[in-house]
């Protein structure tokens, strides 16, 4: 799960310093909440998706939008029908179904939602995981929190694999077809699978604890430390760009 978020590529986003990229991501998230017109918001979102897709490919852009599609569907199904005030767009007799304001509100929220989600996923699509960790360390994420995150990353594939293996083995032991089982029976089967997966996960902790202790964790003289992000050049220029890009978008939305 954590290994397939990075998409190899050579675009400018890949050469951008991850620390500046994180700042740019946060500033863009703030930008999406600025009081701009719906047209400007939609244009900026489209531009961000276009630039991002140029670097990471259209498949990634589509996958991101597809992953949030249930939420988008929820917005389009519920929101326009809950705003009763404004210019009616669709009416049945005297009953107003959709108003212009309701539709605009839904579209604004959807644009914001797509924009923020896409900008956030771009960070992980264009930065390798250990560099994200080093970036967070650079922003003074505490050592222990960083360690917990790193360890969690090592656990995720292990737990996911263990769970699928255990559930497969439980399924193989049952003669009855999975599809034909009743919900209650399927739920009953979930408990031993979860218990086995948790026991396997818990049994892995002592080994990891021992290896941490061997590396001097918790003592003054640790035998391991974090790398630094010195492979990137033009850090100041990148930070400057990270500030200029959202500012330029805002000025453009004010002028045009």
């Amino acid at each position: 799960m954590t290994t397939n978020t990075y998409i190899a590529g050579k675009g400018w986003l890949y050469r951008f310093d991850p620390r500046a990229k994180l700042l740019l991501m946060l500033l863009m998230c703030v930008w999406f909440f600025l009081p701009v017109t719906l047209l400007h918001l939609a244009l900026v979102v489209a531009l961000v998706v276009l630039v991002g897709a140029h670097s990471t490919g259209w498949h990634h852009a589509w996958r991101t939008v597809y992953s949030i599609s249930p939420m988008l569907l929820f917005m389009i199904l519920f929101m326009p029908f809950n705003v009763r005030e404004g210019v009616p767009l669709v009416s049945i007799g005297s009953f107003t179904v959709i108003t212009k304001e309701g539709l605009e509100q839904a579209l604004r929220l959807m644009s914001r939602f797509i924009g923020i989600t896409y900008v956030c996923t771009l960070l992980f699509a264009t930065t390798v995981m250990h560099e994200v960790m080093l970036t967070l360390r650079w922003y003074h994420l505490p050592y222990k929190a960083s360690l917990v995150v790193t360890l969690a990353f090592t656990y995720i594939p292990f737990i996911a694999d263990s769970f699928s293996q255990i559930s497969e083995s439980h399924r193989l032991r049952e003669a009855e077809d999975e599809q034909k089982k009743k919900v209650g029976q399927r739920l009953k089967d979930l408990v031993p699978t979860l218990t086995s997966a948790l026991v396997v996960a818990l049994r892995s902790i002592p080994n990891l604890a021992m290896s941490l202790e061997m590396r001097g964790f918790g003592r003054q003289e640790r035998r391991s430390s974090y790398h630094s992000l010195d492979a990137y050049h033009h850090v100041c220029t990148n930070f400057l760009l990270a500030c200029i890009i959202p500012l330029a978008f805002w000025l453009a939305s004010m002028l045009f």
């Binding site: 799960m1 991101t64 809950n82 923020i116 956030c120 656990y155 399927r186 979930l190 408990v191 948790l198």
Partner: protein, 184 residues
């Protein structure tokens, strides 16, 4: 002791992340096992481990890692379902209060009862944070917000609470042994 708690926090963070992707087809809506592991983190690790695991999970989701069941990024946290995610933090704390019960071995029944009581409280906290947030962000009426964000999930959440209580009753000895080993 501290590094063992740290490892337990990492493990539960990973379990919450994996749980968001494990879907169980239950009518009327399929459930994910994310809240089950949040409750379990509290029941087994106590308030500190429960809250830290959940905070790490939310942090990873906020910076864009697709750890939520609907993806990742600040957009999800600030979107209509963000309240349910923020509600996980106080829920983990409340569930953790059951994990602080000391006589689990002597009175397993009481421990399970505490898990059910605090687990119910934790589930209610998630709804208390999630439904008004959904109403506010989605500009919905109370009726629609309750229909979309609470009613279809009640059965699933009660089942998850029952499973989490059962698992906590089965696994607490192993966790206590693990945490106690360093003290010895």
């Amino acid at each position: 002791m501290q590094q063992r708690r740290l490892l337990l926090t990492s493990l539960f963070s990973a379990l919450i992340i994996v749980g968001a992707y494990l879907r169980f087809p239950l009518p009327p809506v399929p459930i994910t096992l994310q809240t089950l592991f949040v409750l379990l983190a509290g029941f087994l690790g106590g308030p500190a481990v429960g809250m830290a695991s959940t905070a790490i999970y939310l942090l990873l989701g906020a910076i864009g890692l697709p750890v939520f069941s609907s993806g990742g990024g600040l957009g999800i946290l600030l979107g209509p379902t963000g309240g349910f995610l923020f509600g996980l933090l106080p829920a983990a704390f409340l569930a953790g209060l059951a994990g602080r019960y000391r006589n689990k071995e002597e009175h397993p029944g009481r421990y399970r009862l505490l898990c059910i009581i605090f687990g119910l409280g934790a589930t209610m906290i998630i709804y208390l944070a999630g439904v008004p947030y959904l109403k506010l962000v989605g500009n919905l009426s109370w009726k629609v917000a309750l229909q979309a964000g609470m009613l279809p999930f009640i059965i699933g959440d009660l089942l998850k609470l029952a499973i989490a209580t059962h698992l906590a009753g089965t696994l607490h000895t192993r966790i206590d042994q693990f945490l106690g080993q360093v003290l010895a």
